[in-house]
């Protein structure tokens, strides 16, 4: 029931990451209503103040919009959401590169590994691109 949190990083930051994910992957579609602070806090198993802080930052980033009497909604600005998706995506790619380099892979080897992976997975449209 509770969200998983890892040690050493402030919980409100981890909540923000999870909320980013939900916006980007469509769990919270553009323009949709976000549950109330209390509800989210209970779902996440966290302090309402902590959840409030995370939501406030989502507002600051322009991803959530707060309405005076009717709670919060996800932004309708699809462009912004795309921006976030790309940012998160390139973050994963960064991690891929950092990880493989640490294992001693050169950049050429990294490309090959990625190609092999795609071929194995049998993703046809990409195979054409290759």
């Amino acid at each position: 029931m509770k969200w998983e949190f890892k040690n050493g990083v402030p919980i409100y930051q981890q909540i923000i990451e999870i909320l980013h994910m939900r916006v980007v992957n469509g769990t919270y579609p553009p323009g949709s209503r976000i549950p109330a602070v209390r509800e989210l806090a209970v779902e996440a198993g966290v302090n309402p103040n902590t959840m409030q802080r995370a939501l406030a930052q989502m507002e600051q980033e322009g991803l959530f919009i707060s309405w005076r009497t009717s709670g919060r909604t996800v932004t309708e600005d699809v462009g912004k959401i795309e921006e976030l998706r790309e940012k998160m995506g390139s973050h994963f790619v960064e991690e891929l590169f950092t990880g493989l380099r640490e294992l001693g892979f050169s950049d050429v080897q990294i490309m090959k590994t990625v190609k092999d992976h795609i071929e194995q997975q049998g993703v046809e449209s990409l195979q054409e691109e290759l």
Partner: protein, 232 residues
Amino acid sequence: MSVLFECRDLAKSYGKVQALKGINLQLESGRIVGLLGPNGSGKTTLIKLANRLLQPSSGSIRIAGEEPGILTKEKCAYLPDKDFLPDWMKTSDLLNFYGDFYGDFDRPRAQAMLANLDIPEKMSLKKMSKGTKEKVQLILTMSRDAQVYLLDEPIAGVDPAARDYILRTIINNYREDALVIISTHLIADVESVLDEAVFLKQGEIVLHQSTDELREQTGKSVDEYFREVFRC
């Protein structure tokens, strides 16, 4: 944001043993604070002093600006870490009891929570399992609209599902004008619910900080940092 819990040079000794050594502490409304420390660190003594179950040896303690007495008892909801309800009473008797003595008792809320957990109103406590009894105690305490909640080891000795229920109830009951103090040594389960952590070691406060700040500064969870600080 008002200061609902304040200790000034508060000390308590039992004979030669100093349970609390002149502590200073201020806690504000709208927070859930963890009073963390091993057994014998003074947590229970501090809570008893807040409830006037003990008198200070020196110094003072104030709840919402008043010294512990009838006025503060009306504003404080206390959940001890023991079986403190009369065994012979039924759930309905207890609802009447709390309703009679506490003006801030929300009976419908209590009944809803009891119904949620399938706890019958006509069952006496002595016929209930330990886990069910603890839930009843928690429900009665959290159904009060008190200004200060003092929960002494609310999740110790309780199965994981009940633990989740208890923490969800605490979060659900959160109010901006109230203060919740959770005294426990089971930090890992509880830390995501805490705004602030107060470490109590041998009668002294060795730390009082926001939990997120603590995580950021130490790069550890509160539980991990706690184990470091209190390593034997």
